[in-house]
Symmetry: C2
Subunit: 110 residues, 2 copies
């Protein structure tokens, strides 16, 4: 009841892909933090959601992981596969259209 958690459903996949497209490569924890920062703590991705999502996207062949040791800890970076860039664009466009239609339905400007 507190945040807009329930609205996230279905959009997480595309959020991840959009952030990866913009930033080249990112790791799970970083995706959570950046989302928190960019949305003023209004959209909070949980680790229980983000990691299975990343694993699924890799399994589907959309992204590829690579491990790097940074400051003694291992980070698992993910990047979009070049062959999937078009599909990623398409998915982001779909979500973009959806939010636009939603705002029309809700009678919101812009």
């Amino acid at each position: 009841m507190d945040s807009n958690k329930k609205f996230l459903n279905g959009t997480l996949n595309t959020i991840v892909l959009a952030l990866l497209r913009e930033n080249g490569k990112m790791y799970g924890y970083e995706i959570c933090q950046l989302t928190k920062d960019k949305t003023n703590e209004k959209i909070l991705l949980t680790e229980g959601a983000i990691y299975p999502t990343l694993h699924r996207l890799e399994k589907e062949g959309m992204i590829t992981s690579s491990k790097e040791k940074v400051n003694g800890r291992i980070r698992k970076y993910y990047a979009i596969n070049k062959s999937s860039l078009q599909e990623v664009d398409s998915q982001i466009n779909l979500l973009s259209q959806f939010t636009a239609h939603l705002r029309t339905l809700l009678n919101l400007s812009a």
Copy 2:
């Protein structure tokens, strides 16, 4: 894979409330049709989703139904309970904020 069906998850409740708030009273089939028309057939509400949603909202005390016979067929109209108007506004605002943040994340203007 064709439409943006998956994005709907979590927003249906609020869409229904927003349409009811704007139009005073509506029946299930009408909500589906209006949504289809307003979004250029991009957001399609299915009957398997809309009716359980209306039932749930009524059970929760957010809306109230009333049956009317129109053209020989019975229609079940729903309207927002006055005591819930504030809660409805609040929910619509939350969804509005969510879509705004989402558009920021996706690097979309407006």
